[in-house]
Amino acid sequence: MSEVQFLNVHKDFSGMEVLKGINFTVESGQVACLIGPSGSGKSTLLRCVNHLETTSSGTILVGGRMIGYEVHGDRLIEAHQKDINKRRSRIGMVFQSFNLFGHMTALENVMMGPVKLLKVPKAQAEAEARELLAKVGLADRTGHYPAQLSGGQQQRVAIARALSMKPDLMLFDEPTSALDPELVGEVLDVMKALARDGMTMIVVTHEMGFAREVADVVAFMDGGVIVEAGDPNEIITRPQHERTKAFLSKVL
């Protein structure tokens, strides 16, 4: 069970409201794409899911359990850091700027989580890491440092690293936005394979082709609200709202 429910999520950054009451559900095994102009709050919303960002009010449930907060009397209070870390370890995240650990090889990046957090024996972790790297098409790059890999290769290692923790849910924050156009495809292919395997995924993206092909649900955000959400073909080909139409006419 790894469905994600956003319940009236609000967030303000020092007085500026960036999320204005988000209500949205991603079913277990679904792929949801968040689209919208920059500054619309989609990355912030995604980062709230693993509590990299705090919320001001409202809450997010992952697998039916609140994340980052617990009930304290008749209010919510930020959860204990240990509990937050534990929940995070089951949620994979892939960043726009890859964020691979620069002092570790691709293999070490992928082994690190299982070895240090899950206390998996090194030999077993290494075998699993090699398998994951092979799965993302990088069996021959295990000994390379991030600086020696192309952007597309780095992002695929980052996906393998996130998968090494055997997550129930994967978050992608504009995973292809920092890539040269010819490298975008290799990363999207890995993500498509992941979606076919039934992984629950929330993807912030500008790749409308990917959203239409892979997503089960697309949400268009603007100004801190979800303007419209639903079937990708409906939203992308026949948007109902003027703001969605205006946005799509620029990116398609």
Binding site: L52, R88, L107, E108, L117, Y145
Partner: protein
């Protein structure tokens, strides 16, 4: 004028293609030659003076180079350097992390520490620790304004060597804090974020992700600080700790061979700094992981 209109001169030679394919000659630079002659002359003059001037007292230098008092002083200098640097590093790490805390009190105390220890001369701080017994005849642990729990006589627990360590180490901690902080801030925020997203705690993130990458930023200045510390330890002579320079002074105070004995001390200092420089280069190489061109076989 187009390219093809240019007058053809040397390029018109029949053997041009062949000579152009030979390795290119290096052009002589006459200015460099003049500089070499001038610098070479000065070097020669310097060497001549050093060798011929009896004031340098080379036989005396040879006689005292391995004198037991000199070697004892050398050992004290090394001990002071190592302990003060370790103390400085520990204080520096703690103060740097405090300074980056989101708690205003911790940040403020760390800032005040750096402000005070960088803002007063080390020589003054050293004298202060030497005279600490005047200010605090006894030291102990107790409740401010309340009773003392334990108490010692300052002169018993604070021998001069310890006073010297405190003087050097506490001051070094302030500089080290800024070096460590620069290193920690030099690691992109995305690195910590990725680590937190995987479920690592703040301490684990610092240990496994941030500090290893901060090391390559921190190490070169720490190397410089260590080399500098080796020489700065000589300030302990003002409180009478028997280091290399102090023992050197003790000897020339009796035999009045100041210059040869200062040369003895200088030779040992320069030998140690040379060794430290070599060690520094090796350690830096080790921590540059992820920057080398060659992929590691894995």
């Amino acid at each position: 004028m187009t390219v093809s209109d240019r007058p053809i001169t040397a390029e018109a030679r029949p053997d041009f293609a062949e000579l152009a394919s030979r390795p290119v000659l290096k052009r002589k630079r006459p200015g460099q030659l003049v500089a070499m002659v001038v610098v070479g002359l000065f070097a020669l003059m310097g060497t001549y003076v050093i060798v011929t001037n009896p004031g340098f007292g080379w036989p005396t230098v040879a006689k005292y180079l391995f004198d037991i008092r000199i070697l004892n002083g050398l050992l004290t200098t090394i001990e002071l350097t190592v302990i003060a640097m370790v103390l400085g590093l520990v204080i520096g790490l703690v103060v740097a992390v405090m300074r980056m805390s989101d708690n205003a009190l911790l940040r403020g105390v760390a800032g005040a520490y750096i402000w005070f220890f960088r803002g007063t001369p080390l020589l003054v701080q050293m004298l202060f620790w030497g005279f600490a017994a005047v200010l605090f005849p006894t030291i102990g642990i107790g409740i401010p304004g309340g009773p003392m729990l334990v108490e010692w006589n300052t002169n018993d627990v604070l021998p001069l060597f310890v006073a010297g360590i405190l003087g050097l180490g506490l001051n070094e901690g302030a500089y080290m804090a800024e070096i460590v902080r620069a290193g920690l801030m030099g690691v992109p925020a995305g690195q910590s974020e990725a680590s937190h997203a995987m479920g690592f705690s703040r301490m684990e993130t610092l240990r496994h992700v941030v500090i290893p990458q901060a090391m390559k930023i921190i190490l070169p200045p720490v190397g410089n600080e260590t080399i500098s510390m080796l020489k700065t330890t000589s300030l302990v002579i003002v409180i009478g700790v028997g280091d290399l320079l102090y023992n050197t002074q003790q000897i020339y105070a009796r035999n009045l061979q100041q210059i040869p004995l200062l040369i003895v001390a200088s030779l040992w200092y320069i030998l140690l700094t040379t060794i430290l420089s070599l060690v520094q280069a090796r350690i830096e190489k080790r921590y540059s992981r992820g920057n080398n061109i060659q992929a590691r076989k894995a």
